[in-house]
Amino acid sequence: MAKLIGLTGNEAIAYAVKQCNVDVVAAYPITPQTIMVEVLSEYVYNGEMDAEFICVESEHSAMSACIGASLAGARVFTATASQGLALMHEMLYIASGLRCPIVMGIANRALSAPINIHGDHSDMMGSRDCGWIQVYAENAQEAYDWTIQAFKIAEDPRVLLPVSVNIDGFILSHSMEGVEVLEDEEVAKFLPRRKPAISIDPDKPITIGALCLPDYYFEIKFQQVQALKESFNVIREVNREYETLSGRKYGFIETYAMDDAEAAIVCLGSTAGTAKAVARSLREEGKKVGVIKPWVYRPFPEEELIKAIGNAEALAVLDKACSFGAPFNALCSDVIATLYRYGKNVKVFNCVYGLGGRDITPNDLKLIFNDALEVAKTGIVREYVKYLGVRE
């Protein structure tokens, strides 16, 4: 019998980590992620979880310790947000470059300056090219489910890459929802002890992190490109296996009412929940709108996106982060690049929204849907990048 318990997004990830038999957690507190590490500390200090909790002195050291522990063969978790992720930036590339299957929970938050503790995607988007697999959850249930799957994906010898599970700061990190959790034994069976393909086993001496000059560096980076490509198959397999276990179906993209949609919103994370509700009410008015929510942002699921778009003629792509000076913002750039690659002529406009945690309301989304329908009808995009609700 599935157990339904009340958990915040932070708690849901921590609960999953406990069930995943994680060996080492190295983390540093930062709002709005802090509760994740507090809950994990409680598990360890109460003997509910047999792990070493390293209370490091910075996020940079958190990721550094995770890399060391991961290369020693341990299953490793950390969590952060915002400035913490920015401070880790250097180590993110090393974690993926040294092929460490670390899993990290991120309660996405705006980046300074000005300082702001609320949710947007600036942190992860600022590090989106770091070679990590990046997943965005819409609610606490998804955060729980993806965390368990993340370890299995990361540790697969065909992948060996770190994975970040992103939840919207405060909106998900601090909101309590009913989460259906698996039994400990079920998770243990789904995710057996990690068998490291490479480790710094002192009995089999190895040099890891050598200096690679122009004669080898490129090939090693190319292996990461291939591993991310290979991860498509692994993610698919893991999603299928998890569905058998939990009854919950995951993939690269979730679609809502896309079958005959003329216009759609593409967005990440919790905003998709609101967008679905708005789409439902617009459908009742006879407006053919739908929602496309990528779960997996890296590797970017191009094929699945094209399939999801179907016959829609206009897309409003929502970005909760700014790519300053760029023609489009992060998610929108990827969507447009995908359309170009597949030769698909769909009109696209980009909405930057919610920076620094500013609310996005059902009414905002209704207006965006209507704009998108107008673009679908006329074929004319009046404004390619909008900054939703900003006071000029």
Partner: protein, 307 residues
Amino acid sequence: MVRLQDLPVEELFTSGHRLCAGCGAGTIMRMTMKALRGPTVIVNATGCVEVATTIYPYTSWKVSWIHVAFENTAAVASGIEAAYKVLRRKGVWDKHVDVIAIAGDGGTFDIGIQALSGALERGHDFLYICYDNEAYMNTGIQRSGATPHGAATTTSPAGKKIPGKPEFKKDLIGICVAHGIEYAATASPAYWNDYITKVRKGLETNGPAVIHVFSPCPLGMRYDPSKSIEIARLAVQTRYWPVYEVERGKYKLNIKVPQPKPLVEFLKMQERFRHLFQPEFQHELETLQRWVDENWRRIATLCGETA
């Protein structure tokens, strides 16, 4: 104190690496490996030793060795130590693993001091060795927090107005001891048995241990590569580099220098100090001698010796 016949013949740090001729750090690494007592993992910060010993696909290390970055050696070592601890507890791993973090002075005094402080405070069981060649030699001789007063580097040049580095060297061991760690020591490769004994002692310490070893650098200190050990000895004989250890807060002077040689004997062999011998900067020589005298008095007093 370890004797020559006690040392293993096996070389776990092999020849063929690309360190400069006369590099003190290479000698120190070889000596370090002679002190191992079992399964060991080396964590190496970015720096001379790292770039010159592991140029892919080659390696000089016959033990497991890992390099992650410059400023985080102690943090990486923390993760490795914690991993083996929990894997042993869970029955996945069956033996003790010694973890040795190795970093230069830049990676220790400057960019790595936060990670080192954190790891010492948390009490991880590891040995941290700082080989101190007193500047960023790997990037072409820039001043660090370990560069002595007056030394010329490319970022503290012997200018017409400012004759080399105006600031003085940080007290690394003082900083480490302030964390309440069980073992901290200084050493010089000229006194190989003292150094190797200390490495073993550091490994045997339960918890963090730190060794700060003088690493002569022909390129950056600018002297004849054949003189490295001589310089390392003079550093001690002039009282420039007091060799002492701190065990559970108790200081002990390991090499007594009852009749110190004048500091200028150490300085004049190195071109990084050459400008100080010009008449207008003579007073800097006195400043340096005074610093050495005061530092020695401070250490000797802590060691319960009369200076």
